[in-house]
């Protein structure tokens, strides 16, 4: 359900001054996009899993409240509940992919209807039962304040699942991905532009090493860097990674759904979000085992784990 009136927020939603520091590293960008891509079926539709259903288990009133809350996460105004849930989970996943965690300010309106409002997790520190948001100097003027203090009860905080490394490991991964340029180091590119050839620099080796590096860094996730050429991997390993990446996203999906159900409880909504028919992490694991033993074809394995 789409908001029809503006809600007053306490927190600063974003820091334009800090966003200038973020370089647009290709690898980090591709990774974050891929992590949040198709965690749930896009548009709530899947041809592969006919049994896919989304249900809200609870009283009609609780279900209505849950739907309204899910609508707060959703980017679009969804009338269809399945599409609404897919959109909401997808949006939360997107926040997690970019920052390793997602934070929302819980704001009740005059009619005591709860609204959630996404804001940046940058410069946010939790201390005891309070969150402290330190606004950077460059944005003092924009937000008209230097520090925001909000009680923890007004914040919904969700992090990357521990099995995937949690918030800290995820941020380290993003940082490591930003470390190298895949088109060669700056000095080499400058030399090349000047028409000079660095004698002691083997570009192919650099490419190979950096490819290896990107995959090492994202090993927990099984990301294959959108590389379908199989120039450096076997076809088997390519599909193995594909299945592994699916597993990671299944873990992420289940984690988000569990956290949403915890949020429902926290907000006193006696309702449970149930998503069935999509490949669970255990099922993906099974497919991976079959793949390793050669009992399933690559395309079939990819088909079974895809959404």
């Amino acid at each position: 359900m789409r908001r029809r009136f503006k809600i007053a927020h306490n927190v600063a939603t974003h820091f334009p001054s800090l966003s200038r520091d973020l370089d647009m590293n290709l690898n980090a960008r591709m990774f974050t996009e891929d992590v949040s891509l198709a965690v749930m079926p896009i548009g709530g539709k899947t041809d592969r899993h006919k049994e896919f259903t989304v249900t809200l288990d609870g009283s009609p009133d609780a279900c209505a409240r849950a739907s309204a809350l899910l609508g707060e996460f959703s980017k679009f105004d969804r009338r269809d509940r399945t599409r609404l849930v897919c959109d909401a989970v997808g949006e939360i996943a997107k926040h997690l992919a970019w920052e390793g965690c997602a934070v929302y300010e819980i704001v009740p309106d005059q009619s005591n209807i709860v609204h959630v409002h996404s804001f940046t997790s940058q410069r946010l520190v939790k201390f005891s039962k309070w969150y402290f948001q330190f606004i950077p100097r460059g944005d003092w003027e924009l937000w008209g304040k230097k520090l925001v203090i909000i009680p923890a009860s007004s914040i919904w905080h969700i992090e990357m699942p521990t099995v995937l490394g949690g918030h800290k490991d995820y941020m380290t991964t993003l940082k490591k991905l930003r470390r190298y340029e895949n088109l060669g180091p700056p000095f080499w590119r400058q030399n090349l532009a000047r028409g000079e050839q660095a004698k002691d620099f083997d570009f192919q080796r650099y490419v190979s090493s950096s490819e290896m590096y990107y995959r090492q860094v994202t090993r927990t996730w099984g990301w294959n860097r959108r590389d379908g050429t199989q120039e450096r991997t076997t076809e088997f390993y390519y599909f193995y990674k594909k299945v592994h990446f699916r597993w990671a996203r299944a873990v992420l999906r289940e984690h988000i759904i569990t956290e949403i159900n915890i949020l429902f409880l926290r907000l006193g909504i006696d309702c449970k979000l149930i998503v069935i028919g999509l490949p669970t992490p255990d099922e993906v694991e099974k497919v991976r085992a079959e793949l390793l033993s050669g009992n399933i074809s690559f395309s079939k394995a990819a088909d079974r784990v895809s959404i």
Partner: protein, 824 residues
């Protein structure tokens, strides 16, 4: 003016002399630099002897070894040094003689071989060391050092070695140097050295500059070999045995090299480079991005020519064969064929059947171009026996290849591949080259290696399972199997077809016959392994788990069909050729190809009858019939004995061929009934009809009657009867298929087998599962000969009468459909 000029002249002279002196001094210094090591070694050795000698005094006393006085000591050493100097002079005098006679007009690289001769160099160094050591020992004594006891036995033995070696080896060796090919050993040593260096685990074998260096050096060696071959081929006294020996060494090296290729990385700079350009839309993103951003083109991939050594060596061998065939040195060429055979077998063992066929095609073209020159007129000339032997050798090579391939294939096994793959240590560079994988699988293994290492680096272990790795390798092996088996059938057929056609077109029937005879053997070897091919294909490809992996198509039925077609084609040729050869008298020492082909034709006629193959029968029988009659006439004309029993015996041997054709004709009657195909009989009988029609004036009937009665009437195993018995057994086996049923008679416990066939003849022969008393000859006499004019009066024996009665009795029985009524 004059004084000034004189001063200038003097100054110029002084300056010039100083310059000359400086240059000479540099040359001297260079000379001393070059010799200093040898000097130090000799002086060092003399000092060592001087140092060691006092500690050995005690032993000298024990063996009562007395030291000579000063005069004798110095005289002995001086004499030995003098002898050394003489031998050095003699050796170089010999070399100079050879050099001026043979090597004066040769290119530098060949002349260099003379200076690189290892044995000569070692001998000269030894002599120079000995000569100078003697002088050094004298110098030590003169400078006041004590005499060295140890020097006496040492110098004496060393001088002995120098003298005896000169007489036994080096003096004589100088004469061998008149043949430049005798120096080629050094080149082969060098080639083996370079190959050894770039093989896995060789020194710096993975280092590109080292690989490139080895390639350049080997290429230079090959240049020298080519020059050497060129010189040798032009020398009348060199292009015989010396050139053959050089070619043998080349083939020996190739055999070694083919095996060594298993251990050479496929991207080694040892192989000559070739450039292959990427497609823009198939290249990976990084390459395209870099090329686009820098405004350059995609860098080409450097591939290589893995056959560069072979491509340079084989033309030398072919040229050697051509020259020696032109000079009619057949025995030498035959000697070389053994090496070619061995090389091609190695090639086949390494999976290079196609490559081997390509080589023998070139070889055959060269050989037949020299020995199968068009004969004058229509009549075939008698051949030289050696030419026949050469063609036989040549035609035998594919047989060796087929056997070699079988040997290689028998070792090929999926489990073995799996075991070896599991032993590969991917992080050890030489591992894939040391586990006996064939050279053609290396590319796949090298492709897997960085990928699996990539996984290991990323995941800390290899993720791609063993079954996947094995399947990829099995796919390569299967593709090679498909290529090799196709080559054995298709290229084999093409090779023999072309060789036989060439020999026939140039009117050389004996050479064509030699090739046909070997081809027949070849197809037997190929047919024998068809089942093996299929089972190995299944072994490699049955457990396919990678869906969509593109495997080669292996069609064993198509191969079988192609093989059968060619065999049929060959049999027709052989049948035709047997008649042609029978018309020519066989030279002494020549194999009896006519007899072999006639015998084979008989077998083919019988096979055609068994398989109801009218077309084959029609194309072979007339020639076979004619061949048999000619063979009989030929044998009969050789009967010379005057003793009655010997005469009879010789006639029986000659008549065996008539009995063969009668027997097979009788079976034609029987099998025509069995197959319900009257053409089988009409094609045979029409040939007989034509024959009898041409012999109206003098009927051959008594001859046939004599052949039968003399042979069948005697209580002995007739000549070739065992072969005819095998036909009889096959007929019995065939007739077991005829439907039959049991009939029991009313009031009796016994029963009878009734054969359900319309033909009385078939019923008679199929009645007894263990066979009939009668054979094809009986059938032919009863159903054909006895019905001809003059045949009725002939007495062919009691067996014929018995068969005649059986046929009459059986013919009177009720038709097949009504026979069931017997038990009513």
């Amino acid at each position: 003016m004059r004084v000034i000029h004189g001063t200038r002249v003097t100054s110029f002279g002084v300056r010039y002399s100083a310059k000359e002196g400086k240059s000479n001094f540099h040359s001297l210094r260079e000379f001393i630099n070059r010799t200093q090591w040898s000097l130090f070694v000799a002086i060092g050795f003399a000092l060592l002897l001087q140092y060691l000698d006092p500690s050995l005094y005690i032993y000298y006393q024990k063996v009562n070894f007395k030291i000579p006085d000063d005069g004798d000591y110095v005289t002995l050493l001086a004499t030995i040094s003098g002898i050394g100097g003489v031998f050095i002079g003699l050796y170089y005098a010999g070399i100079t003689g050879v050099g001026s006679a043979i090597y004066a007009s040769v290119p530098n690289n060949v002349r260099d071989l003379l200076t690189q001769d290892r044995s000569g160099n070692v001998y000269m160094r030894f002599l120079s060391f000995l000569t100078f050591l003697g002088l050094a020992l004298i110098a030590l004594r003169i400078s006041g050092q004590p005499r060295i006891f140890l020097a006496i036995p040492f110098m004496t033995i060393a001088a002995g070695v120098g003298i005896i070696s000169f007489v036994n080896d080096f003096g004589r060796r100088t004469f061998y140097l008149f043949d430049p090919t005798s120096l080629s050993n050094h080149i082969f040593e060098q080639l083996q050295h370079w190959v050894g260096m770039i093989k896995a685990d060789g020194y710096q074998w993975l280092d590109k500059p080292f690989q490139k260096h080895a390639y350049r050096q080997a290429s230079t060696n090959l240049d020298t070999l080519e020059t050497l071959a060129e010189i040798t081929s032009k020398g009348l006294h060199l292009n015989g045995k010396p050139f053959i020996e050089l070619s043998k060494n080349l083939l020996r090296f190739l055999r070694y090299y083919e095996y060594a290729k298993r251990s050479i990385p496929t991207d080694s700079a040892w192989y000559e480079p070739r450039y292959q350009h990427h497609d823009w839309y198939r290249a990976d993103d990084t390459r395209v991005s870099i090329a686009h951003q820098t405004g350059t083109t995609l860098q080409p991939v450097v591939t290589n020519d893995k056959e560069w050594i072979e491509d340079r060596i084989t033309p030398i061998v072919i040229r050697c064969i051509e020259i020696n065939l032109t000079e009619a040195r057949y025995a030498e060429v035959i000697g070389l064929f053994g090496y070619i055979d061995a090389y091609l077998k190695r090639l086949t063992l390494e999976g290079g059947v196609t490559k081997a066929f390509a080589l023998i095609e070139v070889l055959t073209s060269a050989v037949l171009g020299k020995i199968a020159i068009e004969a004058d007129g229509d009549t075939a000339k008698p051949e030289v026996l050696e030419k026949l032997a050469i063609v036989e050798w040549l035609a035998l090579i594919p047989v060796t290849m087929a056997l070699g391939y079988r040997e290689a294939l028998e070792k090929l096994d999926r489990n073995d591949i799996e075991n070896r793959m599991s032993s590969v240590r991917w992080n050890k560079e030489s591992s894939i080259y040391s586990l006996g994988f064939n050279a053609y699988t290396l590319e796949q293994l090298e492709g897997l290696k960085p990928r699996l290492l990539f996984e290991k680096m990323v995941e800390n272990n290899v993720v791609t399972p063993l079954w996947y790795q094995v399947e990829l390798l099995c796919k390569v092996e299967a593709a090679q199997l498909e290529e090799n088996t196709s080559a054995l059938v298709l290229k084999g057929a093409d090779f023999y077809r072309a060789s036989i056609a060439k020999a026939l077109s140039q009117n050389h029937p004996w050479l064509a016959a030699a090739a046909m005879s070997r081809e027949w053997e070849y197809w037997h070897k190929v047919e024998d392994q068809l089942e093996l091919w299929q089972s190995k294909w299944a072994n490699l490809s049955d457990d396919r788990r990678i869906v969509g992996l593109s495997w080669s198509e292996f069609d064993i039925e198509a191969l079988r069909k192609n093989s059968s077609q060619r065999q049929e084609e060959l049999l027709k040729l052989m049948s035709k050729q047997s008649t042609l050869l029978a018309l020519n008298s066989r030279p002494d020492g020549f194999p009896d190809f006519a007899g072999q082909f006639l015998h084979t034709s008989g077998e083919v006629v019988f096979e055609a009858l068994l398989n109801n193959n009218v077309e084959l029968l029609k194309s072979v029988f007339a020639s076979y019939f004619l061949g048999c009659l000619m063979q009989f006439d030929s044998h009969r004309s050789k009967i010379k004995s005057v003793v009655d029993w010997q005469l009879q015996q010789e006639f029986k041997i000659a008549a065996a061929v008539l009995l063969d054709v009668m027997c097979v004709s009788g079976y034609a009657r029987l099998l025509a009934d069995y197959h319900g195909n009257e053409s089988l009989w009409s094609d045979v009988s029409s040939v007989w009809d034509g024959y009898f029609a041409s012999k109206v004036e003098q009927s051959p009937m008594p001859l046939f009657c004599a052949a039968v009665t003399l042979t069948e009437g005697a209580f002995e195993i007739a000549h070739r009867s065992i072969l005819r018995t095998s036909w009889e057994q096959e007929i019995n086996h065939k007739l077991r298929d005829v439907p039959r049923h049991e009939v029991s008679y009313r009031g009796s416990f016994s029963s009878d087998t009734v054969i359900d066939h319309d033909s009385a003849l078939v019923r008679i022969f199929a009645q007894d599962l263990h066979g009939s008393f009668n054979d094809g000859i009986d059938i032919f006499i009863v159903t054909y000969l006895s019905k001809l004019e003059g045949g009725k009066e002939m007495d062919f024996g009691w067996q014929m009468k018995g068969l005649q009665e059986s046929i009459e009795r059986e013919s009177q029985k009720m038709p097949v459909g009504d026979s069931n009524g017997a038990d009513q």
